[in-house]
Symmetry: C2
Subunit: 216 residues, 2 copies
């Protein structure tokens, strides 16, 4: 099957989309982007066309090499296996385990419990507290784990998949007004990573679907 | 660092612990088990000793080769990299992507939103409906995805990490009285897998900490 340029389905504010945008930027993978507005028209992810692409009705989705992949970490692992340079997983299996543990802590333990569709079910008056509790509890654990894994980045000094999860989650934390002073290691790593170009070009404030008032 | 037998920290009913128990059984990895009762004493996962082991206060945790790994999929990926036989990820990167997509769909998209600590926050009167909605929505997507990936198992005919996620999630669905007739492919694969020894010895009804009234 001949495939053209990879196509990323993305929403500027989706933290899971941002993870993949960083991976594509770091690995320098030329691609097209189709934006899916999760709010407009009752949510474009609920359209028939998009559901056929991803029955989970979530972004990101990546069409690449003739296949369609949903779930951000599955996408990043596929990119890593097929476009290994620069690597987003260390060579040492024990360090790879740390990277995946931190990635999963964020991708399974924090993000899904504070995402848009869950917060809608929680109800407007409780949303902020709910999200803050989830993130605070996850970040408390993460801050402790980072004491034994972090260098300049989450695991040692090289950017890894864990960092691709960290930065978008910190942005969510800021959006939900979580006080980050209790997490000096998370804050330090986040700051370091945000100075890198791949994290900047992929940032929610610089996407084609970023509303004018949120642009930077 | 010299390491003895791997130690799995597990709770009989934890679906994430079950995933790892299946992996250990399939790969024939000799190990010890320490049971953590998530309910007794207000939750043994909140003890100082356990928090030092896993700041996320969750099972499973695996101590192996001198390291401590939390997060079930990170554990399984580590086992796969260090004990590759029998394989739990296919050789073809595209099929690996399908396995990881299905695993993440369950491990990020379904399980975390219906786990014990979230249901406690949702409140007793809404718990059942909440869990049913989450599982129904995830299974509807999964049933559709399996149409293009499944053989005898979730991806083709070989047992993979996706199957290790599927069976425990179906058990949760049954516990929450989800009607499974709408998911014939999920039900068929689940039945096939439950006939395998590794899925049976690891089953919640056959663990050292299974209460007498739930034993089978």
């Amino acid at each position: 099957m001949q495939a053209g340029k990879p196509i990323l389905y993305s929403y500027f504010r989706s933290s899971c989309s941002w993870r993949v945008r960083i991976a594509l930027a770091l690995k320098g993978i030329d691609h097209e982007m189709i934006t899916i507005n999760l709010i407009k028209d009752g949510g474009q992810q609920f359209s028939k066309e998009f559901q056929a692409l991803n029955p989970m009705k979530q972004v990101p989705v990546l069409k690449i090499d003739g296949i369609t992949i949903g779930q951000s970490l599955a996408i990043i692992e596929y990119l890593e296996e097929t476009r290994p340079t620069p690597r987003l997983l260390p060579q040492d299996p024990k360090k790879r385990a740390s990277v995946r543990m931190i990635s999963d802590l964020i991708a399974s333990g924090i993000q899904p419990v504070q995402n848009l569709s869950i917060l809608e079910q929680v109800g407007q008056e409780k949303q902020l507290t709910w999200a803050q509790n989830v993130i605070t509890s996850g970040f408390t654990a993460l801050e402790q784990i980072l004491q034994s894994t972090a260098g300049r980045c989450c695991v040692g000094d090289e950017v890894s998949m864990a960092d691709l999860c960290l930065v978008p989650q910190v942005a969510n934390a800021e959006r939900f007004k979580v006080d980050l002073t209790a997490y000096p290691t998370i804050s330090r790593i986040n700051k370091t990573l945000l100075s890198l170009e791949a994290f900047q070009v992929s940032h929610p404030c610089r996407q084609p679907d970023t509303p004018a008032e949120l642009r930077a």
